[in-house]
Amino acid sequence: MITFAKVIEQLYAVTAAWGIPWLVPTLVVMTIVVGVVVAYIAVAAMFLIWWERKISAHIQVRFGPMRVGGWHGWAQSIADGLKLLLKEDIIPARADKVVFVLAPMVVFAASLASYVTIPWAPGLIVRDLHIGVLYMVAISSLAVVGIIMAGWSSNNKYATLGAMRSAAQAVSYEVPLVLSILGPVMIAGTMRMGGLVEAQGGTWLGFLPRWYVFPQAVAFLVYFICALAECNRLPFDIPEAESELVAGFHVEYSGMRFAIFFLAEYANMFVVAAIATTLFLGGWHGPWIPIPGLPAEVVHGLFGLVWFQVKCYFLIFVMMWLRWTLNRLRVDQLMDFAWKVLLPIAFANLIITGLVLML
């Protein structure tokens, strides 16, 4: 099978034969990978922002953006991005400047680093780490640090309140989140993202796809709810609750720094959807047909790429759908729900899964 790792190895072997020190190809590969991922995030985020506007508009029986670019306002996000780039960058006079400037970088770096272990298609994964899932969950929890830094350094009471709420929420929802991903990991017996997807190939009873969403439906629900909270999406958007906190932790941010927060939010949504797809929805698996004239492996890879995207964007659609359907929880309801409902369910699921696996 052709895999990304093997291609890279070949490249290193070739350059080593030419006598180029291995640092040079490594840096070139790193730059290309980062470039591709950042480009993907930028395009995906712009598409998602436009999509979210359209979905919200249609849920509220409006049209949403219709003019910019012609067809259903497709260029609206590009216009917004350009506008944000040209805006003045304001740092409040009494703000802690170093932390204020650092905060958007931390948030974006956290979501960018998670893309390392996303299994896009068979063999197409930047690095299939031993600890794949754990790495992704750990790295994406760093975003909260950036949010707290932003909220505190702004020296604004709304921002600080948003940061505090974010801290409380993140600490509470991370516990059931980590417990819920353990179910699929226990069944598959691996934490590699690629291995998890491969374990879900084939069917049960001949017709049901071997996706872990069926035996681990409870874990999937727990994961999805916690993921919504991790992304600060409604009904868990108390860190930026517009009607109470103006805009929460990013009140004082303007121009490109604000745009980076916005970009990171959508990049994070995709990460969360990608973890859910990998763990529960069979990743790149899906029906595919051979195309004459092309090697079967390549066609399988292409279909896998498409299936992975379709599943991810479906989950993102559900997240948007929920955002424009549900209303916001109160802080105390939020905490009650995490500790008294989700956590016991996640533990019960873990124990039952373990029992079934042992018997």
Partner: protein, 163 residues
């Protein structure tokens, strides 16, 4: 190996720099933020020792959990915008003795041939190995630690409850 060594020194310097801000900084929130960076540097050192699982857990628990709780507590208790909060306590002499003792021990260990940066031990996957070890060979210490944590938790709840 030279590049590995270079990265090691870079990450070690980063960790020590962040830790110095934690200890010497006047502003308590900045100190907490620096603590996060210090923990991240520690995680990088774990990765260099081929302990990826430990590195991920370090980031997940210490960065994603404990420091965030710490920041939360700081924001709840002190006037966060004031930079006048006392950050150095009275036990400077005691802690200085302990730190110097630890440093001496570490230097002695290094001169005896236990280097900080070892070659990768080439374990296939550390996570299953660790899990099995914790539940078979080291089950008793593992359970003892859990009971200790449980006792700590119960104590904290009793202290925090008003009635």
């Amino acid at each position: 190996m030279t590049l590995r060594l270079g990265i090691f020194y870079l990450m070690a310097a980063f960790t020590v720099w962040a830790a110095a801000i934690v200890v010497l900084g006047k502003n308590i929130v900045r100190a907490a933020v620096a603590l996060i960076f210090s923990f991240c540097g520690m995680a990088a050192l774990y990765v260099m020792l081929d302990a990826e699982f430990l590195a991920a857990v370090q980031v997940l628990i210490y960065v994603g959990g404990i420091t965030i709780l710490l920041l939360f507590a700081i924001m709840l208790t002190t006037r966060i915008s004031s930079a006048t909060a006392r950050v150095i306590n009275d036990q400077v002499v005691l802690s200085a003795i302990a730190t110097i003792g630890l440093l001496a021990g570490l230097i002695y260990a290094t001169t005896q041939g236990i280097s900080a940066l070892m070659g990768p031990p080439n374990l296939p996957e550390t996570a299953p190995f660790l899990g099995r070890a914790l539940l078979t060979t080291y089950a008793l210490p593992f359970e003892a630690v859990s009971i200790l944590l449980l006792a700590g938790m119960v104590g904290a709840i009793i202290l925090a409850r008003k009635d």
